[in-house]
């Protein structure tokens, strides 16, 4: 009974803290702008199966991609066992999901094998991170705290896997010593058992009990650490893929507020017709975190900081300041900084700082070629270029600020309908003396 009460209490605390964190994050979404509508449920479901569960984009780097995919698929099986542990803990039962019979055996066996596989892979990831000098784990946005966060997350996962393996060994060892039935199959535990040959049933029971508690408490800790970590993607990557912008990568979202103004300009008659004025005159483009869309912010929370975007960015690999990963990390940091104050003092809260300039420089924004390599590469379908162009929109339309050459281009397009200073009278000059050989 005491165990049950302690468990229920810890679970309640865990869920309480988690709810607080998530509620805080949700309150920040209130300040963001609308994005694409979420329809095409089936298309999104298929995309989620393909990209999230099939891990297709992570396989764009095949070797390390396979390593990640194995960890992901393993987590899916192990999650089943974690749910069972919560049921067991709350209702003082043991192996409650054994009612699933052969399916249960299969899932438990998979979880047991994957615990070992994941532990080995996590060690590989840690060694690679610390000693591998992987270029995409470096960059101006990668602070010592970013590396600590990554290493801490990996260490927590490693401890989770070790405690899970201990738990299975304890359970199998105890059951065999006591001659009771083993629910589920545990091939790795069975293999490792001889190493603990001299242990008594009581010792096995202790190992089982202690590692059960260690494992579940680590899960509770991990769950509450994640929202403050780059590893939040454990929760958000699947929904983020489901919420992907489904349009072709080349398509920028239309600014309807501009369409209204341009139509009025082109057809003054329409001024007298009923074109509804927007209730609040909103800023054109993105200057600060709250000008971004909810999807941009969701993207920033889902970002794993893996740096695949940055590693394929033509600007970044030729030494420019732009790093698509930094854009996402900066949006998240800025919202974290400004969000609580907006909750307290309202959306108009002003701390004389902004996402653009205090976090992201104009130099970064103007270095983008809108080639979409970053968006194509992102394993969780983050879209960086739309946010970058939105910041350009702010600079150009609110501040009339752009590199000098681009201002000339704007003038040329406006005055002679081409980015260069040529007259439209010359548009057919290429036709001159055009002949076809007919033999």
């Amino acid at each position: 009974m005491t165990k049950q009460i302690i468990f229920a209490f810890t679970l309640a605390v865990t869920l309480g803290i988690f709810a607080f964190t998530v509620n805080r994050l949700i309150s920040f979404f209130r300040f963001t702008k609308p994005s694409c509508q979420i329809k095409d449920f089936w298309k999104r479901t298929l995309l989620t199966i393909e990209v999230a569960f099939g891990q297709t984009k992570i396989f764009r780097k095949p070797v390390v991609g396979l390593a990640h995919a194995l960890v992901f698929w393993g987590f899916c099986f192990i999650l089943f066992g974690s749910v069972e542990m919560i049921i067991d803990g709350l209702f003082r039962v043991e192996k409650s999901l054994k009612v699933f019979g052969p399916v249960y055996d299969f899932i438990m066996a998979a979880g047991d094998i994957f615990a070992l596989v994941i532990a080995i892979l996590i060690i590989f990831f840690l060694v690679r991170r610390i000693y591998g000098h992987i270029k995409r784990f470096e960059g101006i946005e990668m602070k010592p705290s970013s590396h600590k966060d990554a290493n801490l997350s990996l260490t927590l996962i490693l401890l989770l896997m070790i405690s899970l393996m201990d738990m299975n060994i304890g359970y199998v060892g105890f059951s065999i010593s006591e001659g009771t039935a083993i629910e589920g199959k545990y091939p790795v535990a069975g293999l490792l058992l001889p190493l603990f040959g001299s242990m008594s049933a009581h010792d096995f029971k202790m190992v089982y009990e202690v590692s059960w508690w260690v494992h579940i408490l680590l899960i509770f800790l991990f769950a509450n650490y994640l929202p403050y970590s780059k590893h939040f993607h454990v929760f958000l990557s699947v929904p983020n893929v489901f919420l992907t912008r489904l349009e072709p990568l080349g398509k920028l979202p239309n600014m309807d507020s501009i369409t209204r103004e341009v139509r009025l300009m082109m057809d003054p008659e329409a001024a007298f017709q009923a074109i509804p004025e927007p209730a609040v005159v909103e800023r054109f483009g993105v200057k600060d975190a709250e000008d971004s869309t909810w999807k941009n912010y969701f993207d920033s929370l889902s970002c794993t900081q893996c740096g695949r975007c940055t590693s394929v960015c033509p600007a970044n690999i030729t030494g420019k300041r732009l790093s698509p990963r930094k854009i996402m990390m900066d949006l998240r940091s800025r919202m974290k900084e400004k969000g609580p104050n907006m909750v307290k003092y309202g959306k108009d809260f002003n701390d004389n700082r902004s996402l653009l300039r205090d976090f992201i420089t104009e130099e970064e924004i103007w270095a983008c070629t809108t080639c979409n390599a970053c968006a194509k590469e992102c394993p969780v379908n983050i879209n960086h270029p739309t946010l970058i162009v939105d910041m350009r929109r702010y600079l150009v339309m609110e501040e009339a600020s752009a590199p000098g050459e681009l201002k000339i281009v704007f003038n040329n397009i406006e005055n002679n309908g081409a980015p260069w200073q040529y007259s439209s009278e010359d548009r057919l000059n290429w036709v001159k003396d055009l002949e076809l050989n007919t033999k």
Binding site: P248, T318, V396, L428
Partner: protein, 264 residues
Amino acid sequence: MNTLKIEIPVMSELVARGEKPEYLFWVGCAGAFDDRYRKVVRAFVKVMVHSKVNFAVLGKEETCTGDPARRAGNEMLYQMQALQVIETLKQYDVKKIITICPHCYNIFKNEYPDLGGVYEVLNYLQLLNMLIENGRLNVKPEMFKNTAVTYHDPCYLGRANDIYDEPRAILKKLSDNVIEMERNKSFALCCGAGGAQMFKEAEKGDEEIFIKRTEQALKTGAKIIATACPFCMTMLTDGLKYKNREEDIKNLDIVELMAQSLEL
């Protein structure tokens, strides 16, 4: 050899005569004004006339689609251009558009619909591929049969619109030696000109994107770098000049290879 003078049908004249072409061929600003790229447009028109494609151009009525303005953040200017173009196309009841520039293709196909301009849009490579498949264009492979060719994917055909197969299908008809760069298709490196970069100096960095991409193309050992975008052409041709390779390596558009092999 006999030659036939090509008269380019202009939309306003056709309509005045009561005729209506099947396609509007959108030439684009680079096609109209860039000396090098004019040759590409001429080659494409030759192939279209050769294959009896029924098209017309807007001529002096054509204007910028607004793409560079939009990508540079000037949504106001973009929409002014776009609504003006849509108005012109409405006047001629245009339903099908052929583009040669991938940036024009992307904007017609993906972005004008938001402003009420809905068309069937074909990129010239899709048209060429269609003509080949329909048997309206018979490729003569002799000229480039043994020439090593590599293809640079333009971002606005590739990643932006998933057009990877048509250019390769056409090239493979022309040459038996099409070599892929290490980074190809959706992995392709940008030439450095997209997003209005074409019109400005690059930001401070260690090297130029176009040189990096040229180096990747040179690494294949190909004698011809085939491109399919006016901006990519400018960038890679500059890259070849920078590398002092413009004598032995040629940067040609896919349709130029086609027109040359057909001796048009």
